[in-house]
Symmetry: C2
Subunit: 113 residues, 2 copies
């Protein structure tokens, strides 16, 4: 897997890995909104929301359409974002997940470091 592509994945994951940005994206999935709309919905300053939108834009998660003086933001990779969210919805923090038997380390892995 090329490092360029992997870096892009990391950029996406990092962009989604912030409470405010995740909320923005979840709101945008419900429908296109301008910055003021988002500002009305979330407990953050206008400047801060604008900053987070820039991060999301750089990760190519959102894009906007200009409409006079306002910018209508939307999720431009809805399958990706909805997919990730629906996977997350299946996970409970308390659950321990799958238990797995131990690996048997092969004694021939002797590359030195």
């Amino acid at each position: 897997m090329s490092a360029v592509i992997e870096n892009y994945w990391v950029t996406i994951l990092k962009a989604l890995g912030h409470p405010t940005r995740l909320q923005i994206v979840m709101e945008l999935l419900k429908g296109t909104k301008c910055v003021t709309d988002i500002h009305d919905l979330l407990p953050a300053s206008q400047a801060n929301i604008s900053q987070h939108l820039t991060v999301l834009r750089n990760a190519r998660i959102v894009d906007f359409a200009q409409d006079g003086s306002q910018r209508c933001y939307y999720v431009c990779r809805p399958e990706l974002v909805e997919g990730v969210l629906s996977l997350l919805r299946n996970e409970q923090p308390e659950s321990r997940g799958t238990k797995v038997q131990c690996c048997l380390r092969k004694p021939d892995s002797e590359e030195n470091h």
Copy 2:
């Protein structure tokens, strides 16, 4: 959506949003590995890999089974991680994503801030 759960999602996304940790997880998906195995595969120090494994463990993405003096790490939420990776594989960084028409902001949204 409860803030507790959302914080957990953010923890997961943040944990995956680092190049070394993403690589660790991708290696572990191929099979359970102990720390030395991972160290042999990735260009990072033993201490650093151990630190990243702690982050992944706190996010409940990986767990380990003790086997004598070594710890066999594995992905304990394989459906989640594989799901996310397969969604990411569908995305190219160059693609512009879906274009969307502008929102029409309703003039009645007048809650003050």
